[in-house]
Protein backbone atom coordinates (compact mmCIF):
# COMPACT_ATOMS: atom_id res chain seq x y z
CA UNK A 1 0.00 0.00 0.00
CA UNK A 2 1.91 3.06 -1.20
CA UNK A 3 1.27 6.57 -0.05
CA UNK A 4 -0.61 8.57 -2.68
CA UNK A 5 1.77 11.32 -3.70
CA UNK A 6 0.41 14.57 -5.07
CA UNK A 7 1.39 14.97 -8.75
CA UNK A 8 4.00 17.61 -9.72
CA UNK A 9 1.48 19.29 -12.01
CA UNK A 10 -0.93 19.69 -9.11
CA UNK A 11 1.82 21.14 -6.93
CA UNK A 12 2.53 23.61 -9.75
CA UNK A 13 -1.16 24.42 -9.99
CA UNK A 14 -1.38 25.09 -6.25
CA UNK A 15 1.75 27.28 -6.37
CA UNK A 16 0.17 29.25 -9.23
CA UNK A 17 -3.03 29.71 -7.23
CA UNK A 18 -1.04 30.85 -4.15
CA UNK A 19 0.98 33.30 -6.27
CA UNK A 20 -2.29 34.54 -7.77
CA UNK A 21 -3.70 35.11 -4.31
CA UNK A 22 -0.56 36.95 -3.30
CA UNK A 23 -0.78 39.15 -6.38
CA UNK A 24 -4.43 40.01 -5.67
CA UNK A 25 -3.50 40.80 -2.07
CA UNK A 26 -0.81 43.19 -3.33
CA UNK A 27 -3.27 44.76 -5.78
CA UNK A 28 -5.72 45.43 -2.92
CA UNK A 29 -2.89 47.01 -0.90
CA UNK A 30 -1.93 49.25 -3.82
CA UNK A 31 -5.48 50.21 -4.84
CA UNK A 32 -5.70 53.38 -2.68
CA UNK A 33 -2.65 54.82 -4.51
CA UNK A 34 -4.30 54.50 -7.96
CA UNK A 35 -6.56 56.89 -9.91
CA UNK A 36 -9.29 54.36 -10.57
CA UNK A 37 -9.82 50.62 -10.93
CA UNK A 38 -8.13 50.21 -14.31
CA UNK A 39 -5.31 52.75 -14.20
CA UNK A 40 -2.87 52.36 -11.40
CA UNK A 41 -0.05 50.23 -10.05
CA UNK A 42 -2.63 47.76 -8.75
CA UNK A 43 -4.19 47.02 -12.17
CA UNK A 44 -1.66 44.52 -13.53
CA UNK A 45 -1.07 42.73 -10.21
CA UNK A 46 -4.85 42.33 -9.89
CA UNK A 47 -5.33 41.02 -13.44
CA UNK A 48 -2.32 38.70 -13.21
CA UNK A 49 -3.55 37.40 -9.87
CA UNK A 50 -6.97 36.50 -11.28
CA UNK A 51 -5.44 34.90 -14.39
CA UNK A 52 -2.95 32.89 -12.31
CA UNK A 53 -5.78 31.48 -10.22
CA UNK A 54 -7.76 30.60 -13.37
CA UNK A 55 -4.76 29.00 -15.11
CA UNK A 56 -3.84 27.13 -11.92
CA UNK A 57 -7.40 25.84 -11.75
CA UNK A 58 -7.17 24.79 -15.41
CA UNK A 59 -3.99 22.84 -14.70
CA UNK A 60 -5.60 21.06 -11.74
CA UNK A 61 -7.90 19.31 -14.18
CA UNK A 62 -5.21 18.41 -16.71
CA UNK A 63 -4.23 14.75 -16.83
CA UNK A 64 -0.78 13.80 -15.61
CA UNK A 65 1.31 12.37 -18.44
CA UNK A 66 5.00 11.68 -17.81
CA UNK A 67 6.72 10.20 -14.81
CA UNK A 68 9.76 12.21 -13.75
CA UNK A 69 12.78 10.52 -12.25
CA UNK A 70 14.95 12.77 -10.11
CA UNK A 71 18.68 12.08 -9.89
CA UNK A 72 20.00 10.03 -6.97
CA UNK A 73 23.35 9.06 -5.46
CA UNK A 74 26.53 10.68 -6.70
CA UNK A 75 24.74 12.70 -9.41
CA UNK A 76 22.39 14.26 -6.85
CA UNK A 77 25.35 14.93 -4.55
CA UNK A 78 27.28 16.66 -7.36
CA UNK A 79 24.31 18.87 -8.21
CA UNK A 80 23.56 19.85 -4.61
CA UNK A 81 27.25 20.34 -3.80
CA UNK A 82 27.76 22.56 -6.87
CA UNK A 83 24.83 24.80 -5.97
CA UNK A 84 25.87 24.79 -2.30
CA UNK A 85 29.40 25.83 -3.20
CA UNK A 86 28.07 28.73 -5.30
CA UNK A 87 25.97 29.96 -2.37
CA UNK A 88 28.93 29.67 0.03
CA UNK A 89 31.13 31.43 -2.54
CA UNK A 90 28.72 34.34 -2.90
CA UNK A 91 28.62 34.72 0.88
CA UNK A 92 32.36 34.27 1.51
CA UNK A 93 33.67 36.64 -1.18
CA UNK A 94 32.74 39.57 1.09
CA UNK A 95 34.95 38.24 3.89
CA UNK A 96 37.93 36.62 2.21
CA UNK A 97 38.05 38.65 -1.00
CA UNK A 98 37.83 37.76 -4.68
CA UNK A 99 41.02 35.81 -5.21
CA UNK A 100 40.99 33.23 -2.41
CA UNK A 101 37.24 32.63 -2.49
CA UNK A 102 37.30 32.18 -6.28
CA UNK A 103 40.28 29.77 -6.19
CA UNK A 104 38.55 27.73 -3.48
CA UNK A 105 35.22 27.68 -5.31
CA UNK A 106 36.92 26.63 -8.56
CA UNK A 107 38.95 23.99 -6.76
CA UNK A 108 35.89 22.52 -5.10
CA UNK A 109 33.85 22.53 -8.32
CA UNK A 110 36.64 21.00 -10.43
CA UNK A 111 37.24 18.37 -7.79
CA UNK A 112 33.60 17.29 -7.46
CA UNK A 113 32.53 17.61 -11.08
CA UNK A 114 35.74 16.54 -12.82
CA UNK A 115 37.24 14.34 -10.06
CA UNK A 116 40.77 15.31 -11.10
CA UNK A 117 43.89 14.98 -8.95
CA UNK A 118 44.53 17.68 -6.31
CA UNK A 119 47.62 19.06 -8.07
CA UNK A 120 45.85 19.35 -11.42
CA UNK A 121 42.75 20.87 -9.79
CA UNK A 122 44.83 23.47 -7.89
CA UNK A 123 46.74 24.49 -11.04
CA UNK A 124 43.59 24.77 -13.17
CA UNK A 125 41.70 26.62 -10.39
CA UNK A 126 44.52 29.18 -10.06
CA UNK A 127 44.85 29.68 -13.83
CA UNK A 128 41.09 30.14 -14.27
CA UNK A 129 40.81 32.49 -11.30
CA UNK A 130 43.60 34.64 -12.75
CA UNK A 131 41.95 34.64 -16.19
CA UNK A 132 38.62 35.75 -14.69
CA UNK A 133 40.45 38.34 -12.56
CA UNK A 134 41.93 39.84 -15.71
CA UNK A 135 38.55 39.76 -17.46
CA UNK A 136 36.22 41.02 -14.75
CA UNK A 137 38.43 43.16 -12.54
CA UNK A 138 41.15 44.47 -14.85
CA UNK A 139 39.16 44.73 -18.08
CA UNK A 140 35.54 45.20 -16.92
CA UNK A 141 36.55 47.09 -13.75
CA UNK A 142 33.99 45.24 -11.60
CA UNK A 143 34.53 46.27 -7.97
CA UNK A 144 34.70 42.88 -6.24
CA UNK A 145 35.49 42.82 -2.52
CA UNK A 146 39.22 42.23 -2.08
CA UNK A 147 41.67 41.62 0.74
CA UNK A 148 45.10 41.15 -0.76
CA UNK A 149 44.04 41.08 -4.42
Amino acid sequence: MGIKVISPNRIGAFVAIILGGLSIFEAIRLYPYGNNLLTGDHTFPGMIGVLLILAGGMLLFERKKDEVVLPKGRTAFMMIASIGSLIIYSLSIKYIGYFFSTVLAFLFLIKIIGNYSWIFSIVIATVLTTALYLLFIVLLKTPFPSLLF
Binding site: F44, L59, S82, F106
Partner: protein
Protein backbone atom coordinates in the same frame (compact mmCIF):
# COMPACT_ATOMS: atom_id res chain seq x y z
CA UNK B 1 16.86 53.90 -51.66
CA UNK B 2 17.19 55.89 -48.48
CA UNK B 3 17.84 52.63 -46.65
CA UNK B 4 20.73 51.80 -48.96
CA UNK B 5 22.34 55.18 -48.28
CA UNK B 6 21.95 54.69 -44.54
CA UNK B 7 23.38 51.19 -44.87
CA UNK B 8 26.41 52.49 -46.79
CA UNK B 9 26.92 55.04 -44.04
CA UNK B 10 26.67 52.17 -41.57
CA UNK B 11 29.40 50.33 -43.46
CA UNK B 12 31.67 53.33 -43.27
CA UNK B 13 31.20 53.30 -39.48
CA UNK B 14 31.89 49.59 -39.13
CA UNK B 15 34.96 49.52 -41.33
CA UNK B 16 37.32 50.86 -38.69
CA UNK B 17 39.95 48.58 -37.14
CA UNK B 18 38.38 48.64 -33.66
CA UNK B 19 34.82 48.02 -34.86
CA UNK B 20 36.00 45.20 -37.10
CA UNK B 21 37.78 43.71 -34.09
CA UNK B 22 34.54 43.92 -32.08
CA UNK B 23 32.59 42.12 -34.83
CA UNK B 24 35.34 39.50 -35.15
CA UNK B 25 35.49 38.97 -31.40
CA UNK B 26 31.70 38.71 -31.10
CA UNK B 27 31.45 36.18 -33.92
CA UNK B 28 34.33 34.11 -32.55
CA UNK B 29 33.11 34.19 -28.94
CA UNK B 30 29.61 33.24 -30.07
CA UNK B 31 30.96 30.35 -32.13
CA UNK B 32 33.12 29.14 -29.22
CA UNK B 33 30.18 29.07 -26.79
CA UNK B 34 27.79 27.72 -29.43
CA UNK B 35 30.18 24.87 -30.20
CA UNK B 36 30.25 23.71 -26.58
CA UNK B 37 27.84 20.79 -26.27
CA UNK B 38 24.43 21.70 -24.87
CA UNK B 39 24.97 25.46 -25.01
CA UNK B 40 22.95 27.30 -27.65
CA UNK B 41 22.52 30.96 -28.69
CA UNK B 42 20.42 31.88 -25.64
CA UNK B 43 23.00 30.63 -23.14
CA UNK B 44 25.80 32.19 -25.21
CA UNK B 45 24.21 35.64 -25.14
CA UNK B 46 23.22 35.36 -21.46
CA UNK B 47 26.73 34.37 -20.36
CA UNK B 48 28.55 36.89 -22.52
CA UNK B 49 26.20 39.89 -22.13
CA UNK B 50 27.77 41.29 -18.94
CA UNK B 51 31.16 41.32 -20.66
CA UNK B 52 29.94 43.67 -23.40
CA UNK B 53 28.88 46.36 -20.94
CA UNK B 54 32.35 47.89 -21.04
CA UNK B 55 31.74 48.93 -24.67
CA UNK B 56 29.72 51.86 -25.95
CA UNK B 57 26.11 50.96 -26.95
CA UNK B 58 26.76 50.62 -30.69
CA UNK B 59 29.80 48.41 -30.19
CA UNK B 60 28.07 46.45 -27.44
CA UNK B 61 25.08 45.67 -29.67
CA UNK B 62 27.39 44.87 -32.60
CA UNK B 63 29.20 42.37 -30.40
CA UNK B 64 25.93 40.87 -29.10
CA UNK B 65 24.66 40.43 -32.67
CA UNK B 66 27.98 38.75 -33.56
CA UNK B 67 27.65 36.45 -30.55
CA UNK B 68 24.09 35.61 -31.64
CA UNK B 69 24.84 34.45 -35.16
CA UNK B 70 28.24 33.05 -34.19
CA UNK B 71 26.54 30.77 -31.67
CA UNK B 72 23.88 29.83 -34.23
CA UNK B 73 26.67 28.65 -36.48
CA UNK B 74 28.53 26.95 -33.62
CA UNK B 75 25.40 24.95 -32.78
CA UNK B 76 25.51 23.18 -36.13
CA UNK B 77 29.02 21.84 -35.36
CA UNK B 78 27.85 19.77 -32.38
CA UNK B 79 24.68 18.77 -34.25
CA UNK B 80 26.69 17.37 -37.17
CA UNK B 81 29.76 15.94 -35.45
CA UNK B 82 28.25 14.71 -32.19
CA UNK B 83 24.53 14.32 -32.85
CA UNK B 84 23.87 16.93 -30.10
CA UNK B 85 21.55 19.76 -31.11
CA UNK B 86 22.27 22.91 -29.04
CA UNK B 87 18.65 24.02 -29.56
CA UNK B 88 15.59 22.23 -30.93
CA UNK B 89 15.97 24.11 -34.25
CA UNK B 90 19.16 22.09 -34.89
CA UNK B 91 17.38 18.72 -34.58
CA UNK B 92 16.75 18.42 -38.36
CA UNK B 93 20.46 19.09 -38.97
CA UNK B 94 21.40 16.04 -36.89
CA UNK B 95 19.18 13.74 -38.98
CA UNK B 96 21.52 13.76 -41.98
CA UNK B 97 24.47 15.71 -40.58
CA UNK B 98 25.53 12.99 -38.15
CA UNK B 99 25.18 10.11 -40.66
CA UNK B 100 27.30 12.20 -43.06
CA UNK B 101 29.91 12.66 -40.31
CA UNK B 102 29.95 8.90 -39.72
CA UNK B 103 30.57 8.40 -43.42
CA UNK B 104 33.64 10.67 -43.13
CA UNK B 105 31.86 13.61 -44.76
CA UNK B 106 31.43 15.68 -41.59
CA UNK B 107 33.71 18.39 -42.98
CA UNK B 108 31.66 18.70 -46.16
CA UNK B 109 28.43 18.83 -44.11
CA UNK B 110 29.88 21.58 -41.90
CA UNK B 111 31.08 23.40 -45.01
CA UNK B 112 27.61 23.26 -46.59
CA UNK B 113 26.08 24.35 -43.26
CA UNK B 114 28.47 27.32 -43.14
CA UNK B 115 27.75 28.35 -46.73
CA UNK B 116 24.00 27.83 -46.21
CA UNK B 117 24.07 29.86 -43.00
CA UNK B 118 25.99 32.62 -44.75
CA UNK B 119 23.64 32.87 -47.74
CA UNK B 120 20.54 32.63 -45.54
CA UNK B 121 21.98 35.25 -43.20
CA UNK B 122 22.60 37.60 -46.13
CA UNK B 123 19.09 37.02 -47.55
CA UNK B 124 17.64 37.68 -44.10
CA UNK B 125 19.67 40.86 -43.77
CA UNK B 126 18.58 42.11 -47.19
CA UNK B 127 15.00 41.56 -46.02
CA UNK B 128 15.81 43.43 -42.83
CA UNK B 129 17.20 46.40 -44.80
CA UNK B 130 14.15 46.45 -47.09
CA UNK B 131 11.32 45.76 -44.66
CA UNK B 132 12.38 47.00 -41.22
CA UNK B 133 12.38 50.75 -42.06
CA UNK B 134 8.96 50.44 -43.79
CA UNK B 135 7.55 48.59 -40.79
CA UNK B 136 9.11 51.06 -38.37
CA UNK B 137 7.64 53.92 -40.39
CA UNK B 138 4.17 52.37 -40.18
CA UNK B 139 4.67 51.57 -36.51
CA UNK B 140 5.16 55.27 -35.79
CA UNK B 141 1.38 55.52 -36.25
CA UNK B 142 0.95 53.08 -33.37
CA UNK B 143 -0.26 54.43 -30.08
CA UNK B 144 -0.28 52.64 -26.71
CA UNK B 145 -3.45 50.59 -27.56
CA UNK B 146 -1.87 49.25 -30.77
CA UNK B 147 1.35 48.40 -28.93
CA UNK B 148 -0.49 46.62 -26.18
CA UNK B 149 -2.54 44.63 -28.71
CA UNK B 150 0.57 43.74 -30.68
CA UNK B 151 2.50 42.54 -27.64
CA UNK B 152 -0.48 40.61 -26.33
CA UNK B 153 -0.93 38.87 -29.67
CA UNK B 154 2.78 38.06 -29.94
CA UNK B 155 2.70 36.52 -26.47
CA UNK B 156 -0.52 34.57 -27.04
CA UNK B 157 0.91 33.04 -30.19
CA UNK B 158 4.18 32.22 -28.46
CA UNK B 159 2.34 30.57 -25.58
CA UNK B 160 0.94 28.10 -28.06
CA UNK B 161 4.35 27.61 -29.55
CA UNK B 162 6.20 26.08 -26.64
CA UNK B 163 5.36 22.49 -27.39
CA UNK B 164 4.16 21.86 -23.81
CA UNK B 165 0.80 22.23 -22.01
CA UNK B 166 -1.05 25.49 -22.70
CA UNK B 167 -2.01 25.93 -19.02
CA UNK B 168 1.66 25.62 -18.02
CA UNK B 169 2.69 28.11 -20.73
CA UNK B 170 0.12 30.62 -19.48
CA UNK B 171 1.19 30.17 -15.85
CA UNK B 172 4.85 30.60 -16.79
CA UNK B 173 4.06 33.76 -18.78
CA UNK B 174 2.08 35.18 -15.86
CA UNK B 175 4.92 34.27 -13.50
CA UNK B 176 7.28 36.22 -15.77
CA UNK B 177 4.93 39.21 -15.60
CA UNK B 178 4.74 38.93 -11.84
CA UNK B 179 8.53 38.98 -11.50
CA UNK B 180 8.74 42.00 -13.84
CA UNK B 181 6.32 43.91 -11.58
CA UNK B 182 8.56 43.67 -8.52
CA UNK B 183 10.06 47.07 -7.64
CA UNK B 184 8.80 50.62 -7.94
CA UNK B 185 5.36 50.99 -9.56
CA UNK B 186 5.21 53.04 -12.76
CA UNK B 187 2.12 55.11 -11.87
CA UNK B 188 2.36 56.02 -8.21
CA UNK B 189 6.03 55.32 -7.56
CA UNK B 190 5.15 53.15 -4.60
CA UNK B 191 7.02 49.88 -4.07
CA UNK B 192 5.34 46.66 -5.18
CA UNK B 193 5.88 43.08 -4.03
CA UNK B 194 8.78 44.02 -1.76
CA UNK B 195 7.32 42.47 1.40
CA UNK B 196 9.60 44.58 3.56
CA UNK B 197 12.85 43.51 1.84
CA UNK B 198 14.90 46.49 0.73
CA UNK B 199 16.74 44.38 -1.85
CA UNK B 200 13.45 43.95 -3.75
CA UNK B 201 12.84 47.69 -4.06
CA UNK B 202 15.05 47.91 -7.16
CA UNK B 203 13.29 44.94 -8.76
CA UNK B 204 14.93 41.87 -10.24
CA UNK B 205 17.75 42.27 -12.72
CA UNK B 206 16.57 40.33 -15.75
CA UNK B 207 20.08 39.39 -16.86
CA UNK B 208 20.67 37.55 -13.55
CA UNK B 209 17.44 35.63 -14.04
CA UNK B 210 18.36 34.76 -17.62
CA UNK B 211 21.88 33.70 -16.60
CA UNK B 212 20.35 31.44 -13.95
CA UNK B 213 17.72 29.95 -16.23
CA UNK B 214 20.00 29.28 -19.15
CA UNK B 215 23.60 28.96 -17.96
CA UNK B 216 23.37 27.53 -14.42
CA UNK B 217 20.47 25.27 -15.40
CA UNK B 218 22.53 23.99 -18.33
CA UNK B 219 25.33 22.89 -16.00
CA UNK B 220 22.84 21.13 -13.71
CA UNK B 221 21.41 19.34 -16.76
CA UNK B 222 24.94 18.41 -17.81
CA UNK B 223 25.69 16.99 -14.36
CA UNK B 224 22.52 14.94 -14.42
CA UNK B 225 23.22 13.58 -17.88
CA UNK B 226 26.73 12.80 -16.67
CA UNK B 227 28.22 14.61 -19.63
CA UNK B 228 31.74 13.46 -20.14
CA UNK B 229 34.03 13.92 -23.07
CA UNK B 230 31.94 12.86 -26.05
CA UNK B 231 33.79 11.48 -29.02
CA UNK B 232 33.08 13.22 -32.26
CA UNK B 233 33.49 11.89 -35.75
CA UNK B 234 36.79 12.62 -37.50
CA UNK B 235 36.89 15.40 -40.05
CA UNK B 236 38.64 14.96 -43.35
CA UNK B 237 38.08 17.60 -46.01
CA UNK B 238 36.22 20.72 -44.87
CA UNK B 239 35.41 22.01 -48.31
CA UNK B 240 32.38 20.49 -49.98
CA UNK B 241 33.09 19.18 -53.48
CA UNK B 242 31.36 20.37 -56.65
CA UNK B 243 28.78 17.59 -56.48
CA UNK B 244 27.81 18.47 -52.90
CA UNK B 245 27.53 22.15 -53.76
CA UNK B 246 25.39 21.44 -56.81
CA UNK B 247 23.06 19.31 -54.70
CA UNK B 248 22.90 21.97 -51.96
CA UNK B 249 22.38 25.16 -53.96
CA UNK B 250 18.61 24.92 -54.40
CA UNK B 251 17.93 23.55 -50.90
CA UNK B 252 19.90 26.52 -49.52
CA UNK B 253 17.87 28.95 -51.60
CA UNK B 254 14.54 27.30 -50.80
CA UNK B 255 15.40 27.00 -47.09
CA UNK B 256 16.48 30.65 -46.92
CA UNK B 257 13.32 32.00 -48.57
CA UNK B 258 11.01 29.71 -46.62
CA UNK B 259 12.79 30.49 -43.38
CA UNK B 260 12.77 34.21 -43.95
CA UNK B 261 9.21 34.72 -45.16
CA UNK B 262 7.63 32.38 -42.64
CA UNK B 263 10.02 33.55 -39.93
CA UNK B 264 8.90 37.17 -40.01
CA UNK B 265 5.42 36.06 -38.94
CA UNK B 266 5.00 35.95 -35.20
CA UNK B 267 4.48 32.42 -34.01
CA UNK B 268 6.71 30.71 -36.56
CA UNK B 269 9.96 29.75 -34.88
CA UNK B 270 13.26 28.56 -36.34
CA UNK B 271 12.36 25.02 -35.24
CA UNK B 272 9.17 25.09 -37.31
CA UNK B 273 10.91 26.41 -40.42
CA UNK B 274 13.88 24.06 -40.18
CA UNK B 275 11.60 21.01 -39.88
CA UNK B 276 9.43 22.33 -42.73
CA UNK B 277 12.48 22.82 -44.90
CA UNK B 278 13.73 19.30 -44.13
CA UNK B 279 10.34 17.81 -45.05
CA UNK B 280 10.08 19.91 -48.23
CA UNK B 281 13.53 18.76 -49.37
CA UNK B 282 12.68 15.15 -48.66
CA UNK B 283 9.40 15.43 -50.55
CA UNK B 284 10.85 16.95 -53.71
CA UNK B 285 14.05 14.89 -53.71
CA UNK B 286 14.59 12.27 -56.41
CA UNK B 287 16.21 10.08 -53.74
CA UNK B 288 14.04 10.51 -50.61
CA UNK B 289 15.28 7.15 -49.30
CA UNK B 290 18.70 8.77 -48.76
CA UNK B 291 17.24 11.17 -46.15
CA UNK B 292 18.17 10.11 -42.65
CA UNK B 293 21.14 8.17 -44.03
CA UNK B 294 23.33 11.09 -45.06
CA UNK B 295 21.71 13.37 -47.66
CA UNK B 296 23.59 16.67 -47.92
CA UNK B 297 20.31 18.43 -48.88
CA UNK B 298 18.99 17.44 -45.43
CA UNK B 299 21.69 19.63 -43.90
CA UNK B 300 21.65 22.48 -46.43
CA UNK B 301 17.89 23.21 -46.30
CA UNK B 302 17.21 23.20 -42.54
CA UNK B 303 20.44 25.05 -41.66
CA UNK B 304 19.56 27.81 -44.12
CA UNK B 305 15.95 27.99 -42.93
CA UNK B 306 17.13 28.15 -39.31
CA UNK B 307 19.48 31.06 -40.01
CA UNK B 308 17.08 32.94 -42.27
CA UNK B 309 14.36 32.77 -39.60
CA UNK B 310 16.80 34.02 -36.99
CA UNK B 311 17.81 36.96 -39.21
CA UNK B 312 14.14 37.63 -39.98
CA UNK B 313 13.50 37.91 -36.24
CA UNK B 314 15.53 41.13 -36.22
CA UNK B 315 12.73 42.86 -38.19
CA UNK B 316 10.07 42.79 -35.43
CA UNK B 317 12.82 43.27 -32.84
CA UNK B 318 14.27 46.44 -34.32
CA UNK B 319 11.11 47.86 -35.93
CA UNK B 320 8.55 47.04 -33.24
CA UNK B 321 10.62 46.13 -30.19
CA UNK B 322 9.06 42.66 -30.11
CA UNK B 323 11.32 39.62 -29.78
CA UNK B 324 10.31 36.42 -31.55
CA UNK B 325 12.54 34.06 -29.57
CA UNK B 326 14.45 33.87 -26.26
CA UNK B 327 17.85 34.94 -27.66
CA UNK B 328 16.19 37.95 -29.25
CA UNK B 329 14.43 38.67 -25.94
CA UNK B 330 17.86 38.84 -24.32
CA UNK B 331 19.06 41.12 -27.12
CA UNK B 332 16.04 43.31 -26.38
CA UNK B 333 17.04 43.34 -22.72
CA UNK B 334 20.58 44.28 -23.80
CA UNK B 335 19.24 47.21 -25.83
CA UNK B 336 17.35 48.38 -22.75
CA UNK B 337 20.47 48.03 -20.57
CA UNK B 338 22.26 50.31 -23.02
CA UNK B 339 19.47 52.86 -22.53
CA UNK B 340 17.96 52.37 -25.98
CA UNK B 341 14.23 52.13 -26.70
CA UNK B 342 13.65 49.30 -29.17
CA UNK B 343 10.85 49.93 -31.64
CA UNK B 344 10.10 52.48 -34.36
CA UNK B 345 11.56 55.32 -32.34
CA UNK B 346 14.91 53.53 -32.46
CA UNK B 347 15.09 54.14 -36.22
CA UNK B 348 14.23 57.81 -35.67
CA UNK B 349 16.38 58.62 -32.67
CA UNK B 350 19.27 56.20 -33.10
CA UNK B 351 19.26 55.78 -36.86
CA UNK B 352 23.07 55.82 -37.12
CA UNK B 353 23.41 53.13 -34.46
CA UNK B 354 20.78 50.87 -36.04
CA UNK B 355 22.35 51.04 -39.50
CA UNK B 356 25.84 50.53 -38.12
CA UNK B 357 24.65 47.39 -36.32
CA UNK B 358 22.89 46.13 -39.47
CA UNK B 359 26.04 46.78 -41.54
CA UNK B 360 28.09 44.96 -38.90
CA UNK B 361 25.85 41.91 -39.33
CA UNK B 362 26.74 41.73 -43.04
CA UNK B 363 30.43 41.94 -42.15
CA UNK B 364 30.02 39.46 -39.31
CA UNK B 365 28.47 36.92 -41.65
CA UNK B 366 31.35 37.32 -44.09
CA UNK B 367 33.90 37.00 -41.25
CA UNK B 368 32.17 33.83 -40.04
CA UNK B 369 32.26 32.28 -43.49
CA UNK B 370 35.92 33.16 -44.04
CA UNK B 371 37.01 31.98 -40.59
CA UNK B 372 34.75 29.03 -40.03
CA UNK B 373 35.71 26.87 -42.96
CA UNK B 374 39.44 26.82 -42.14
CA UNK B 375 38.73 26.72 -38.39
CA UNK B 376 36.29 23.78 -38.48
CA UNK B 377 39.03 21.49 -37.12
CA UNK B 378 39.62 23.84 -34.17
CA UNK B 379 35.88 24.09 -33.39
CA UNK B 380 35.67 20.31 -33.44
CA UNK B 381 38.59 20.17 -30.96
CA UNK B 382 36.69 22.55 -28.65
CA UNK B 383 33.87 20.06 -28.38
CA UNK B 384 36.38 17.82 -26.58
CA UNK B 385 36.73 20.18 -23.58
CA UNK B 386 35.81 17.91 -20.65
CA UNK B 387 32.69 18.82 -18.70
CA UNK B 388 34.70 18.63 -15.48
CA UNK B 389 36.44 21.84 -16.57
CA UNK B 390 33.68 23.38 -18.66
CA UNK B 391 30.96 23.06 -15.98
CA UNK B 392 32.92 24.99 -13.28
CA UNK B 393 33.91 27.67 -15.84
CA UNK B 394 30.26 28.22 -16.87
CA UNK B 395 29.16 28.36 -13.22
CA UNK B 396 31.83 30.83 -12.13
CA UNK B 397 31.47 33.07 -15.21
CA UNK B 398 27.70 33.07 -14.56
CA UNK B 399 28.16 34.13 -10.94
CA UNK B 400 30.70 36.85 -11.71
CA UNK B 401 28.65 38.00 -14.73
CA UNK B 402 25.47 38.25 -12.64
CA UNK B 403 27.38 40.30 -10.06
CA UNK B 404 28.99 42.62 -12.58
CA UNK B 405 25.70 43.99 -14.01
CA UNK B 406 24.75 45.99 -10.87
CA UNK B 407 27.64 45.03 -8.57
CA UNK B 408 25.11 43.37 -6.35
CA UNK B 409 25.37 40.10 -4.43
CA UNK B 410 21.57 39.96 -4.38
CA UNK B 411 21.64 39.46 -8.16
CA UNK B 412 24.04 36.53 -7.69
CA UNK B 413 21.63 34.84 -5.28
CA UNK B 414 18.80 35.49 -7.74
CA UNK B 415 20.84 33.85 -10.53
CA UNK B 416 21.49 30.78 -8.35
CA UNK B 417 17.82 30.49 -7.31
CA UNK B 418 16.64 30.78 -10.92
CA UNK B 419 19.28 28.23 -11.92
CA UNK B 420 17.60 25.77 -9.56
CA UNK B 421 14.14 26.81 -10.77
CA UNK B 422 15.26 26.38 -14.37
CA UNK B 423 16.40 22.84 -13.70
CA UNK B 424 13.02 21.90 -12.20
CA UNK B 425 11.15 23.74 -14.95
CA UNK B 426 13.05 21.64 -17.48
CA UNK B 427 12.55 18.45 -15.50
CA UNK B 428 8.81 18.89 -15.08
CA UNK B 429 8.30 20.40 -18.55
CA UNK B 430 7.34 23.93 -17.57
CA UNK B 431 8.26 26.07 -20.61
CA UNK B 432 10.65 28.92 -19.93
CA UNK B 433 10.17 30.78 -23.24
CA UNK B 434 6.86 32.44 -22.15
CA UNK B 435 8.46 33.29 -18.82
CA UNK B 436 11.44 35.05 -20.42
CA UNK B 437 9.38 36.92 -23.00
CA UNK B 438 6.85 38.15 -20.42
CA UNK B 439 9.66 39.10 -18.06
CA UNK B 440 11.24 41.28 -20.74
CA UNK B 441 8.02 42.69 -22.21
CA UNK B 442 6.16 43.05 -18.89
CA UNK B 443 7.01 46.67 -18.04
CA UNK B 444 6.35 47.83 -21.60
CA UNK B 445 3.00 46.05 -21.71
CA UNK B 446 1.93 47.47 -18.39
CA UNK B 447 2.73 51.04 -19.40
CA UNK B 448 0.96 50.63 -22.79
CA UNK B 449 -2.10 49.17 -21.07
CA UNK B 450 -2.36 51.92 -18.48
CA UNK B 451 -1.75 54.68 -21.04
CA UNK B 452 -4.43 53.18 -23.31
CA UNK B 453 -7.01 53.16 -20.55
CA UNK B 454 -6.06 56.67 -19.51
CA UNK B 455 -6.63 57.83 -23.10
CA UNK B 456 -10.05 56.14 -23.19
CA UNK B 457 -11.03 57.13 -19.64
CA UNK B 458 -11.14 53.52 -18.60
CA UNK B 459 -13.03 52.16 -21.65
CA UNK B 460 -11.83 48.63 -22.53
CA UNK B 461 -13.28 48.89 -26.04
CA UNK B 462 -10.40 51.16 -27.09
CA UNK B 463 -8.51 48.03 -28.17
CA UNK B 464 -11.31 47.18 -30.65
CA UNK B 465 -12.37 50.64 -31.75
CA UNK B 466 -9.13 51.90 -33.28
CA UNK B 467 -8.66 50.70 -36.89
CA UNK B 468 -5.02 49.57 -36.58
CA UNK B 469 -5.66 47.78 -33.31
CA UNK B 470 -8.73 46.03 -34.76
CA UNK B 471 -6.80 45.01 -37.90
CA UNK B 472 -4.05 43.58 -35.72
CA UNK B 473 -6.61 41.56 -33.78
CA UNK B 474 -8.17 40.18 -36.97
CA UNK B 475 -4.74 39.28 -38.35
CA UNK B 476 -3.95 37.62 -35.06
CA UNK B 477 -6.94 35.32 -35.38
CA UNK B 478 -5.56 34.03 -38.72
CA UNK B 479 -2.02 33.79 -37.36
CA UNK B 480 -3.11 31.83 -34.31
CA UNK B 481 -4.82 29.22 -36.53
CA UNK B 482 -1.70 28.92 -38.74
CA UNK B 483 0.49 28.78 -35.64
CA UNK B 484 -1.60 26.03 -34.00
CA UNK B 485 -1.41 23.93 -37.17
CA UNK B 486 2.37 24.40 -37.59
CA UNK B 487 3.07 23.88 -33.89
CA UNK B 488 1.16 20.61 -33.75
CA UNK B 489 2.95 19.45 -36.85
CA UNK B 490 6.38 20.32 -35.41
CA UNK B 491 5.53 18.72 -32.05
CA UNK B 492 4.79 15.45 -33.83
CA UNK B 493 7.98 15.69 -35.92
CA UNK B 494 10.17 16.31 -32.86
CA UNK B 495 8.59 13.39 -31.04
CA UNK B 496 9.07 11.24 -34.16
CA UNK B 497 12.75 12.11 -34.57
CA UNK B 498 13.95 12.37 -30.97
CA UNK B 499 11.38 10.32 -29.08
CA UNK B 500 10.92 13.14 -26.55
CA UNK B 501 9.11 16.42 -26.03
CA UNK B 502 11.25 19.53 -26.49
CA UNK B 503 10.56 23.18 -25.97
CA UNK B 504 10.84 25.17 -29.20
Amino acid sequence: MESILYLLQGFSEVLTPFNLLIVLLGSLLGTVVGVLPGLGPTSAIAILLPMTTILDPTQGIMMMAGIYYGSMYGGSTTAILMNIPGESSSVPTTLDGYPLAKMGKGGAALGVAAIGSFLAGIIGLIGLVLFAPILADQALKFGPPEYFTLMLIALLILFNLTGYSLAKSIIMGLFGFLISLVGIGISSGSPRFHFGFDALLGGFEMISIIIGLFAITEVLKGLEENRVRIKHEKIKNVYPDKKDMKKSMFPILRGSLLGFFLGILPGVSATITSFLSYDVEKKISKTPEQFGKGAIEGVAGPESANNATSSGGFIPLLALGIPASPPLAILLAALMIYGLTPGPVLFEQNSQMVWTVIASMFIGNIILLILNLPLIGLWAKLTEVPFGILGPIILMVSILGAYSVRNSMFDVVVAIIFGIFGYFFHKYQWPIIPFVLCLVLGPKMESSFIQSLEISSGNWLIFFQRPISLTLLLLAAVLIIVSIFLTNRTKKRIKQETGEHMEF
